[in-house]
């Protein structure tokens, strides 16, 4: 029927009818149609010649795809703990009241819906929201009022005040990498001068390790990929920066994108890949157009394309894939599934992507910061690079600092920096805890603040969330429990069911119906998930609960009932609706208040 078919046809045509672009096709179709109706699913499936179920599986997996109408304006408040600490829930309620809506409900005129979403990576300038996937920062009650008015007046997003969408870099401490004196193309020319093997040797000497947090040796990853059998290889830059509290890649892609792309090309040069992908999280859609423009500029300057910098046989180009709201796609094999147009379900590993990645071919997947660092190695040489940091953690690390401090933002340090120095530099006082590496990471208390940021001590992807002495660490763990239950992909039993069980137990404790029985259950679940989950998400999902129970026991204990067991259900309260329906309020209709 009607207007839909030409829209779908144009999008499918743009991607040459290739089903591996299904996620991109769904995103662009939805941009035009606001949501993906069953007829749209059928149109996409038939034009791509794939089963309906493949389209539905992808459609229903990603948070930012809608298979039901959700309004012309889709407002999503970021709900990381740092947004909470900045008062996002009050603003959320305020907007619901202004628009006379309930959470997730679509207004009767089909205009608008308001809901919560996982961390949008604006922790240094929150509370934040997404309006039709465009990031809005620094929300205040006044800004919420203004946005409500704009929505009701149906003002197109392009006519909203530009400062709503302004995203600051907030670079607070600069070291080798964030130093802006950088000449475009210089790293590529340096790598070409060193030659393919020579550049790999420099990578070896640099001892550069993966900045996503796992710390795998980058030279080894590249070498294994180069040596893996197969005619075609790929470079993937993982910019699915979803770990709550992390936003360094946002800044690198906003202000250092040329270096990231050069790093990808250098990797391609070494491993023999001619195609690269940047997998950009959907929350960073505002970066898409500037990044596309940057790629175009680099192609014109012969820093991408055929014969890069005039080097014969050095061909490499990059395309950008946008994610659609799925934390799990930060896991490299899930990311590759998503690149292939499928739900982001992690693969069985081994085999690892280095030998069997995108389309089953050898693929390097590296973090944005890692690829950026490769340009440092090209420019300065491996030995100079290894001169910074510690013996086992060379170079510098960018930390995304947020929470209770005067100056949230990006801090670049040589590896080995103490937690206490970071806290001092960002103006954090009277700190109760720091959550490092996000909800999946570790919660450190003041007696541990002399520890170091390094792979051999406190390893991190960069998330550094600070909690002052007046913060309730139970609420922090509860927020994380909701996060994991929402983000579990659902593939394996322990994580699919266990994250929801843990969330519900945390809720039971929160309403004052928990006992030590519930604590034991949480610790038992934590161990089960750690031992049996399919991937890192499930394996680490209950770490924060374990850490906070161990280190902030009073936060839990003041909520616990001191008896062996307390039922989840409050029978007296549960009967209220029945009483109302039956029009009864006599003594017989009550079971009595709990003792």
């Amino acid at each position: 029927m009607s207007s839909r078919d030409p829209i779908v046809a144009a999008v499918v045509e743009k991607y040459r009818g290739d089903p591996t672009y299904l996620v991109q096709i769904l995103r662009e179709a939805q941009e035009a149609l606001d949501w993906i109706a069953p007829e749209t699913v059928e149109a996409i499936a038939s034009q791509l010649r794939i089963p309906l179920t493949r389209v539905q599986s992808a459609l229903q997996f990603y948070s930012f795809f809608y298979d039901k109408p959700v309004g012309k304006y889709r407002l999503l408040f970021s709900d990381n703990i740092t947004d909470r600490m900045l008062g996002n829930l009050a603003l959320f309620e305020h907007m619901l009241n202004r628009l006379k809506l309930k959470r997730g409900e679509v207004s009767a005129d089909g205009l608008v819906s308001v809901d919560l979403t996982s961390c949008t990576g604006m922790c240094d300038q929150g509370p934040a929201m997404l309006v039709n996937n465009r990031a809005v920062t620094r929300l205040t009650a006044r800004r919420v009022d203004e946005i409500s008015d704009l929505v009701r007046a149906r003002v197109p997003l392009s006519e909203w005040p530009a400062d709503y969408f302004h995203v600051d870099d907030n670079v607070r401490r600069v070291d080798a990498l964030l130093d802006r004196s950088y000449e475009a193309g210089s790293a590529l020319r340096a790598a070409i001068a060193r030659g393919r093997q020579g550049m790999l040797d420099e990578m070896k000497r640099s001892n550069l390790r993966g900045r996503g947090g796992a710390g795998f040796a980058t030279d080894l990853k590249w070498e294994i990929c180069r040596n893996a059998p197969g005619a075609e290889r790929f470079v993937v830059c993982n910019a699915d920066e979803g770990e709550p509290g992390t936003f360094k890649d946002r800044v690198l892609l906003q202000s250092y994108a040329g270096r990231v792309f050069e790093g990808m090309a250098i990797c391609g040069f070494i491993i023999g890949a001619v195609r690269g992908f940047l997998y950009l999280r959907g929350e960073y859609q505002h970066l898409l157009a500037p990044l596309e423009a940057k790629l175009e500029q680099m192609r014109r300057a012969r820093l991408l394309g055929a014969g890069i910098c005039g080097a014969p046989g050095f061909d490499f180009d990059i395309e950008i894939h946008l994610g659609a709201g799925a934390y799990i796609c930060g896991e490299e094999s899930a990311l590759i599934e998503s690149l292939e147009g499928k739900p982001g379900v992690p693969r069985i590993r081994p085999p690892f992507p280095v030998t069997s990645g995108y389309l089953g071919k050898p693929t390097v997947v590296d973090n944005v910061e890692t690829l950026c660092e490769a340009t440092e190695v090209a420019l300065r040489g491996g030995q100079a690079f290894a001169g910074q940091g510690t013996k086992r953690s060379t170079g510098t690390k960018i930390l995304s600092v947020s929470g209770d401090c005067d100056r949230p933002g990006l801090y670049e340090y040589p590896f080995g920096v103490r937690i206490s120095q970071v806290l001092n530099d960002c103006g954090a006082r009277n700190v109760a805890a720091v959550q490092i590496s996000g909800p999946a990471g570790v919660c450190l208390t003041p007696d541990e603040f002399d520890r170091h940021i390094a792979f051999e001590d406190v390893a991190t992807g960069g998330s550094f969330m600070i909690f002052g002495a007046d913060r309730d660490l139970f609420e922090v763990a509860r927020n994380y429990a909701h996060f994991f239950a929402h983000e579990s992909c659902g593939f394996c039993t322990p994580c699919r069911v266990g994250t929801t069980l843990a969330r519900d137990i945390m809720e039971k404790i929160a309403v004052g119906r928990g006992t030590h029985y519930e604590i034991n259950e949480l610790m038992r679940l934590r161990e089960l998930l750690r031992r049996t989950s399919h991937c890192g998400l499930g394996q680490t999902a209950l770490n924060a609960i374990g850490d906070t129970w161990q280190k902030f026991r009073p936060a839990y204990e003041r909520r616990l009932q001191w008896r062996d067991f307390y039922p989840t259900i409050d029978l007296e309260a549960a009967l209220a609706e029945t009483r109302a329906l039956a029009g009864r309020d006599d003594a017989e209709a009550h079971v009595g208040v709990e003792s």
């Binding site: 089963p51 799925a326 739900p343 039993t493 069980l501």
Partner: protein, 240 residues
């Protein structure tokens, strides 16, 4: 003939393997039972149910997904691992709506059999009681989504053996659910047939052949006669 290069041990018993075999496949061929739900010898490793979690040289691994390799010492039947498996089965019970006494798969159901195997006395956790439906649109087959455990055996059978891709999982996390490849979403509007492999691989009571549900009396069924662990060495999934 086996050389030391092609032997692993499972609970200290030597088990030979062929190159490319997973631990699960090697065990199956040798008649050694490793608990499982989503694994099936006719299909590629999947590794979602996690019941086959074992210790390999002290490290956790899914026996169905890990290739056998020389020197592996595999632990399967330890009290700790059995306790994990019991909890996983309890999770599958509370996640769906499983009422064994009223289920026509009772006695032939692997989930139920594993409940007995791991001495599960209660579901333990608070039941989720999800709102799931049934699909009786097909003339020969009933789909009862209440019992689906997301093992994707029917998905794989229909896609990889039948060449029809009639089933898929959709949704994320706890919203994961089985869907059917037709515009109406109904099985009756597909070319699904009881001759399909996918009609016969469901380990629980989600895909049921109509009109034969009680032709074999309860009490005389597969797992009524012997525990699921006793049938090691043969595929337990085929219906009686």
């Amino acid at each position: 003939m086996t050389t030391p290069e092609s032997i692993i041990t499972i609970d200290r018993v030597p088990v030979p393997f062929k190159p490319g075999q997973t631990i699960f496949e090697a065990a199956l061929a040798a008649g050694v039972y490793i608990p499982h739900l989503c694994a099936h010898p006719d299909f590629a490793p999947h590794g979602s149910c996690k019941l086959c979690t074992v210790l390999v040289n002290g490290r956790n691994a899914s026996a169905c997904a890990l290739k056998a390799a020389p020197g592996q010492e595999v632990e399967v039947d330890t009290p700790e691992l059995q306790a994990y498996r019991r909890t996983l089965v309890q999770m599958l019970f509370v996640e769906g709506n499983h009422f064994c006494p009223g289920c026509e798969k009772s006695g032939n159901c692997q989930l139920q059999a594993l409940g007995y195997e791991f001495e599960m006395l209660t579901p333990h956790f608070v039941e989720f009681f999800p709102d799931r439906g049934v699909d009786a649109s097909h003339p020969d087959v009933l789909l009862d989504f209440n019992r689906c455990i997301m093992c994707e055996l029917c998905v794989r059978a229909s896609r990889d053996l039948d060449g029809k891709s009639i089933f898929a999982l959709a949704g994320r996390g706890l919203n994961s659910h089985l869907i059917v490849n037709s515009p109406s979403g109904k099985l009756g509007d597909t070319n699904f047939s009881i001759a399909d492999k996918a009609a016969h691989v469901c380990p629980v009571g989600t895909i049921l052949i109509k009109r034969v549900g009680f032709s074999q009396p309860i009490g005389e069924r597969l797992y009524d006669l012997a525990p699921i662990s006793a049938e090691a060495g043969q595929c337990a999934i085929e219906e009686a």
